[in-house]
């Protein structure tokens, strides 16, 4: 894949490119087809990757042979629209373990570290990718502290854990959906921004439990997330209303709560999410409406942005539909940071948390 070679140098965030392509075209039947296709692909993907790519691109040096296959593997996993980035990364790292020739735990750890570093540098903007890699490495380090007589049994245990991680991810969504049911009452109006699969799960469960509520979706330019989301909700027979992004303050007084997902949850307790989340949180806070965030625990990352510009820039091109004069600059950042004081609660698979607990969990996890 040519873009793998280009990616380290370009500014465009692969994460957001992928998400946008997924939002634009994917429907649930496409989803089923894609999954089938991918699972066929990955069976021979490993062999193709390590041989073909190393020959084709070549000049990256020896160690990159392995790294290359990691990225390749990762990309193949990432194509599945229903799979979270972090899970894809962990599955890729599991593949690294499987194909590794290390004979000691230390060696394996070093290999994993190298693979994870290359994954992280390939897309420096994706928080959940970084978080997922760190989490898996942390798990490996902790496990290797235990005494295993047999290196192979340790290896297989790690692989098994990595495989299970995908299931954990799905289970996490279900736990979060269950926890948030208490907060959705009959007759409430929910404002949603961005396309989060977790939030979709939450609303699906609420609809299944026969709750009566209606949803306001922001359009979510330039990704048109709102269109996709309203599509899904319409299938569930939930009353949906679409707004343009500028109409949020206008409709905020008829809203009871705001629900968003998160691309990453940072150490301060704030979230990094699609562009526009901060704006909506500000309006909601000033009008005393609660802002709820639904995020799995593997999205907790050890970043600490102090302001909007303190993160690695994640850019994606915006198509305005009309040609823009060349002298005009366009703000192409794809995400923003919402500080913790504007968030009410976070629904995670660890429970319903306040923003200050995030740091507590991170300290326990990483230190």
């Amino acid at each position: 894949m040519a873009d793998s070679a280009l990616n380290p140098t370009s500014n465009v965030s692969a994460y957001y490119q992928t998400r946008s392509s997924q939002h634009a075209v994917v429907t649930s039947d496409w989803l089923a087809q894609a999954q089938a296709a991918v699972s066929r692909h990955t069976d021979d993907g490993d062999l193709l990757g390590s041989d073909g790519r190393a020959a084709a691109i070549g000049g990256r040096g020896e160690g990159s042979g392995k790294a290359f296959s990691v990225i390749d593997e990762f990309n193949s996993w990432r194509k599945q629209p229903d799979l979270a980035e972090a899970v894809a990364a962990i599955r890729a790292l599991a593949a690294v373990i499987r194909t590794s020739e290390a004979t000691t735990m230390m060696e394996l750890e070093i290999e994993l570290k190298k693979a994870s570093d290359s994954l992280k540098s390939w897309d420096a903007t994706s928080i959940s990718l970084t978080a997922g890699c760190d989490l898996f490495l942390r798990y490996v380090t902790r496990t290797s502290a235990l005494e295993y007589e047999d290196f192979n049994s340790a290896k297989s245990r790690l692989i098994e854990r990595a495989e299970k991680f995908g299931e954990i991810s799905c289970k996490a969504r279900r736990i979060i959906a269950m926890l948030s049911q208490d907060f959705i009452f009959d007759g409430c109006t929910i404002l949603v921004h961005g396309f989060s699969r977790v939030v979709l799960e939450v609303l699906k469960t609420a609809a299944e439990n026969k709750k009566l509520f209606r949803v306001l979706c922001t359009e979510g330019r330039p990704d048109r997330t709102g269109l996709r989301f309203s599509n899904e909700l319409a299938k569930l027979d939930v009353p949906v209303k679409l707004l343009i992004d500028s109409a949020v303050a206008y409709t905020m007084d008829e809203v009871d709560m705001v629900f968003v997902g998160a691309d990453g949850v940072v150490e301060s307790g704030g979230i990094i999410n699609m562009m526009g989340t901060f704006q909506i949180a500000l309006v909601a806070h000033s009008m005393n409406k609660p802002v709820y965030v639904a995020a799995e625990s593997y999205k907790f990352a050890r970043h600490y942005p102090l302001d909007q510009k303190d993160m690695a820039p994640a850019l994606r091109s915006i198509d305005f539909g009309v040609p823009i004069p060349s002298k005009v600059e366009v703000e192409t950042s794809a995400r923003d940071y919402t500080p913790p004081q504007y968030l009410s609660l976070l629904f995670t698979d660890l429970g319903v948390l306040t923003p200050s607990v995030i740091s507590d969990e991170l300290i326990q996890l990483y230190l």
Binding site: E267, S268, G269, R302, Y304, L306, D307, D310, P340, S356, S359, D360, I363, Q364, Y366, L367
Partner: protein, 643 residues
Amino acid sequence: MDTRRVSSAVPRVRQVGFFTPNTPAHQPAPTRSQSGPPTSDSPPLSDSPASNSLSPVMIPPPRHLSDNLGGRAYALPVPGRGNAGEHATVGSYNPSESVLWLESPPRSRIGDEELSEGTESSLGWYRRSNSAKVASSLPSGGFDLSQVKQPESVAAVEAKNPLPEKSEAQKEQASNPKSLKAKTTKAERRALQESQRAAKAASKAEANKSNAPGGAASSKPVKQPPQKKDGPPVASSVAASERGVDRPVEKERKKDLPPPRMQFDDESRVGKAKRRSLLNQPEARNRVELFRHLPPHKNASQLPYLESKFFELHEMHPSVYKVGLQYLTGDTSGGNARCIAMLQAFQEAIRDYSTPPEKTLNRDLTSKIGGFVSFLIECRPLSMSMGNAIRFLKSRIARLPLTLSESEAKAALCSDIDRFINEKIVLADKVILRHAATKIRDGDVLLTYGSSCVVEMILLYAHEIGKQFRVVVVDSRPMLEGQKLLRRLVAKGLSCTYTQLNAISYVMHEVTRVFLGASSIFSNGTVYSRVGTASVAMVAHAFHVPVLVCCEAYKFHERVQLDSICFNELGDPDAVSNVPGREDVNYLDNLTDKQKENLQLLNLKYDATPSDYISVIVTDYGMIPPTSVPVIVREYRKEYLLI
């Protein structure tokens, strides 16, 4: 000096222990004037030194009251008496150590006569006690004299306490047992003291009932004469006596509860502390009412006096003494510097320590460290970093396995201290540097306040790795610490701006980040730091500028503090009115004394910044929000206490 005490200059002899009754023990005349007991005691005193060398059990009496014994450990021999010419072999006291003392810094400032006298007294003291060789565990080692002196000095101090009580009680109760002055046995004296205390409490209660102001007023001036107090404090005591109804009651209530720390508005406690204290501190003139509970500032002018006391402090290790002097003069300031200096001094002391024969190392060394700590508190109140380090050290001592030999134990403790300094301070600072430098971008304008060693390190490091930024150094009177930081930064080539705290809102609009240091961070996220920090953080918050507080994790404390009043440190009040280098600017000179009475000068050293103004705390555990401080305390306090 306390003039009235000095008039009763002849020290009273407290002959303790196995004292044979027919030696100059006599019933002093029942005349109860203040100078009465000492003069009646002087005959025995003049006898005792002569008899000292004869009586096998004789332990020289402590110095007289006016020398303000500093705690139990500082009971002192009568200088020069009976020791002249008796400095032959030193016995089992380590001669090299005594030489060490002679070469310690205070020596250079003390006259030769004092030196010889002190030396002779110290050496003679040891020699005499060693020649005594008594079964009652006279020590044969360096620092263990305190053990012997403790019981007697405890009794001495306790016995001295009744003196002002008695003189007060005498006015209220005629039938006070005069026999206190009798050379009774320890047990009898204890019983007497108990009865006196009960009597005093009873008299207080009855004074309470019967027009408390009168009783309180009479009790206070009576207690005060033994201590030197100037006019205004008497006025303040009169003012206090106007609240006298609640005050005696409060005092009694306070006596029941163990005080967490010294509350300096409690008259009786202040009195006792003054008697025990080492520094001869004249009562500060006008102290602000709201801050009367804080210990008064120890003037650096006490330095020569404290130096001269060196040879009276036998248990004081010279390096601890040196560190204390440095605190007093302000040569060593800053949380990390003070903590490291103290720990290194303790290391020296531990290396020189040897366990007395019938004591365990754990307990004895712990009490020794406790003695050092009270001396350091005398010189300057402890900072939080020092407090945590002392807790660490005491827990390490307590955890020493009993099977270790003395040298192994000492080596283990010294290496523990080294490890603490290295891990918790030196390496922690390195980690903080790396984290904080990621938050500095090119083109930033960084603001800092005062002079924090960690912030200085961060700025220099970021400059070294090539980040382009400029620094605004904000400073404030009277300490003007920012000037030193400014000099060091400019010397390294950073572009700096310097301003005073009153211009903070003028400068803040162009600032992109604020870096602050901290003396400690409490469990509710409140940052306890140099006074003025709270103002800087508040203005930064109002301008939406992120505030980064850089602090090592060992300075975290589980205490919660809501304001800057209940716990703080007072500085020199005169520094507020004096401007160094500008003698013409002291408007207080023209004020009359009466006008000055209404003027109260306040110089606070620390203040508490609420957690809302702090964006992030950079520690060696990473960058954490202020709400996570109790998490670190919870998770990692156990860790280093248990290693």
